[in-house]
């Protein structure tokens, strides 16, 4: 199927009333999640994942993806009005967005954030549509050793960029591998790490770990006292939200570079939308004719990061859908969702599940348009959510988490595990252990072990097979190089700078 006919097929799927409703629900929920600080897309997607098991998978992935990219739109509202990023990806927007709001230009800042997100989000989907099918064809040449190398590289990249301490990142990843290894070994039927519990013979469900670490851990962390912030008012009327023609002209390069850089950063595992938005902010400031205005309310300082964090989501879907390798906690949950629904993201995914792939791509065009409409006239309504008392949120999140886990397995034992992983998630946050490598290790652990064992079966036990094939050797060398980066002072300084921006 060529790209044009694939896209037409996708629109036929995405424009059905049910899928349009799912897209709207995802975008709406995503905007809410983005607006509310402390509740992120990984926690929301993890909580809602079990509820999607009864749904049509195409509609469900359209909704979950809508939450993922919708949150990026909503995050800017909090950054501009409160100077607190709703999402870490919107942190760079605080610099100039809040300053614009203080100078009475909250309307154009909010409007520019929505317009830039729409433009870059759409360009990102166009590139995704053009890049994914050829990449999938290239990756058809991959066998077990190449997959093992690819997973090592993905994990190394995520570990490298997930926290200040490489040791903690690696330990977090090893924890994920250990949890993934629990249950019955499919090669030899040996029970591993089951502690004599029959409930663990099938392993620990990904949903339990993800909800525990992200949702319960987040509630516990948010219970810590914080200082209330004053919210600046949202201008009334659509006219007051639209940027001027002069503003649009000033931002034309920001739209372009935000889209391209954001997408490229998204393709890299571990980099993420926060790094994308800070990177494009830096580039925009460097090439601007008025760099002195940055930090004091330059509208390009809103357009560039907001565009980049939306284009990044499309980029992040490329390795997820074509290679089956997620690059962040959120895409790891999306991968788990696809696997749980019975799909196999990887080189054959587009061929085997065209309705799902093209339906998702088409829904992202529609979703970006929906989000523009939602975020321009309704931004005032979403901003009111910031006045919602936090104490009402905590029971809601805990309740949805319990219902989600129980509906998946009908097991109170799993609820106990949920509490346990919630405590682990909180402890990891307090001790500065990054959670993304653990979730990635958990998602990739099984496949990684399978790829390694299959490779060694192919070579009658010789590890040389991993380095004698050019692609796997190159991938493993890259992985090894990534892990030695902290040993070089200058490179490590750059790494830490990127992580600080992420924080």
């Amino acid at each position: 199927m060529d790209i044009f006919s694939g896209l037409m097929h996708g629109f036929a799927v995405a424009l059905t009333p049910a899928n349009l409703a799912m897209c709207l629900a995802g975008c709406f929920l995503g905007t809410i999640v983005g607006v509310l600080p402390g509740l992120g897309p990984p926690a929301t997607i993890a909580m809602l994942l079990p509820l999607t098991f009864r749904m049509d998978p195409t509609g469900a992935i359209i909704m979950l993806a809508g939450i993922y990219y919708g949150a990026k739109y909503g995050g800017s509202t909090t950054s501009i009005l409160l100077n607190i990023p709703g999402e870490s990806a919107s942190a760079a927007t605080c610099f100039d967005g809040y300053q614009m709001a203080r100078k009475g230009r909250a309307g154009p800042a909010l409007g520019m954030a929505a317009i830039s997100s729409f433009i870059a989000g759409t360009i990102g989907v166009v590139i995704l549509m053009l890049v994914a099918p050829p990449l999938a064809k290239v990756s058809l040449a991959f066998s077990s050793p190449e997959y093992f190398g690819l997973m090592c590289m993905g994990l190394a990249m995520v570990v490298l960029l997930s926290g200040h301490s490489l040791v903690k990142g690696l330990l977090s990843m090893l924890l994920g591998l250990w949890i993934a290894g629990m249950g019955t070994d499919l090669f030899s039927a040996t029970s591993r790490f089951t502690f004599g519990r029959a409930e663990l013979l099938g392993g620990i469900d990904f949903v339990v770990v993800a909800i525990g670490v992200f949702a319960i851990g987040e509630v516990m962390a948010n219970l810590e006292p914080t200082e209330p912030a004053d919210m600046l008012p949202v201008p009334k009327g659509l006219k007051n939200l639209l940027p001027t023609w002069e503003d649009m002209k000033r931002c034309r390069f920001a739209f372009f570079q935000g889209s391209i850089l954001g997408f490229l950063v998204g393709v890299l595992p571990g980099a993420g939308s926060t790094i994308a938005s800070f990177l494009t902010y830096g580039v925009e400031k460097a090439v601007s004719k008025h760099p002195e205005e940055f930090g004091h309310g330059a509208i390009e300082g809103v357009a560039a990061p907001e565009g980049a964090n939306n284009a990044e989501t499309a980029g992040a879907l490329v390795p997820l859908l074509t290679l089956g390798i997620p690059g962040s906690g959120t895409t790891a949950i999306l991968l788990a969702a696809l696997v749980l629904w019975g799909f196999k993201p990887g080189p054959l995914f587009i061929e085997e599940s065209p309705a799902l792939f093209w339906g998702l791509v088409a829904s992202m065009y529609i979703g970006n348009a929906m989000l523009l409409l939602l975020n321009l006239p309704l931004v005032g309504v979403f901003a009111q959510l910031l006045k919602m008392p936090h104490y009402a949120m905590y029971p809601l999140i805990l309740g949805v988490s319990i219902v989600g886990v129980y509906s998946n397995s009908s097991s109170v034992f799993d609820l106990g595990l949920l509490a346990l992983f919630g405590l682990a998630g909180y402890a990891m946050r307090k001790l500065d252990f990054p959670t993304a490598p653990m979730i990635l290790g958990l998602v990739l652990g099984d496949n990684m072990e399978k790829a390694l064992r299959q490779s060694l079966m192919m070579s009658q036990g010789h590890l040389g097979i991993l380095v004698s094939r050019p692609i796997s050797a190159a991938l493993l060398v890259v992985a090894a190089l990534l892990l030695v980066v902290p040993l070089f002072r200058r490179l490590n300084a750059t790494r830490l700078q990127m992580i600080d921006q992420d924080g």
């Binding site: 509820l51 200040h164 301490s165 040791v167 903690k168 690696l170 330990l171 090893l174 924890l175 591998l177 250990w178 290894g181 070994d185 090669f187 030899s188 040996t190 591993r192 790490f193 319960i216 509630v219 516990m220 962390a221 219970l223 810590e224 006292p225 008392p389 936090h390 104490y391 009402a392 905590y394 029971p395 809601l396 805990l398 309740g399 319990i402 219902v403 129980y406 509906s407 009908s410 109170v412 609820l415 106990g416 949920l418 509490a419 919630g422 405590l423 909180y426 402890a427 307090k430 001790l431 500065d432 252990f433 072990e449 390694l452 064992r453 299959q454 060694l456 079966m457 009658q460 036990g461």
Partner: protein
């Protein structure tokens, strides 16, 4: 030494080293290599060893930092500690742990009183005790939330909520 015992990294490293030792111990009981290829113990053995090495590196790193900190404290005002070196704010920590304990208790009593009652009690505890809201507000949020959950998940979506002996 006292400074070292107060660092989270030191204790986290010890716990993870113990976990690594457990993984290696278990993996040694399974086949490492078979005629068909690597056995069930092959992969866990290697990541278990890696876990021990990295955990000990974490312990050693925190010991070194504590020593440097102690020396610096003797000479000049001490450096600002990293997040993992700081003992978390007690109020926040206690509130988080109280919330977690309440969650554990609500799960434990779910088999007896069912989801609706245990969820209402959990909500009441969070709103009234942890967030110190008025009794009326706590009552409204807990009962309203429980009814909303029942209506949405059990009645409208026909989902299976944890049932107890009583309800």
């Amino acid at each position: 030494m006292q400074r070292l015992l107060r660092t989270g990294d030191f204790w986290a490293g010890l716990v993870l080293a113990a976990l690594g030792a457990y993984i290696v111990g278990q993996a040694r009981g399974w086949d490492y290599l078979t005629e068909e290829g690597p056995g069930a113990g092959f992969f866990p053995l290697w990541y278990g060893i890696a876990m021990i090495v990295l955990s000990l590196a974490l312990v050693a790193g925190s010991a070194l930092k504590a020593r440097t900190g102690d020396r610096a404290r003797g000479q000049a005002p001490g450096p600002v500690p990293d997040a993992a070196d700081r003992v978390p704010s007690n109020v926040g920590l206690y509130r988080a742990l109280a919330c977690w304990l309440a969650l554990v208790v609500s799960i434990a009593i779910m088999k007896v009183v069912g989801f609706i009652i245990s969820f209402a009690l959990l909500s009441w505890f969070i709103v009234a005790i942890l967030c110190r809201q008025r009794a009326k507000v706590a009552f409204f949020v807990s009962i309203g939330g429980a009814v909303l959950f029942w209506a949405l998940f059990s009645w409208a979506l026909d989902m299976n909520l944890p049932a107890g002996v009583l309800f």
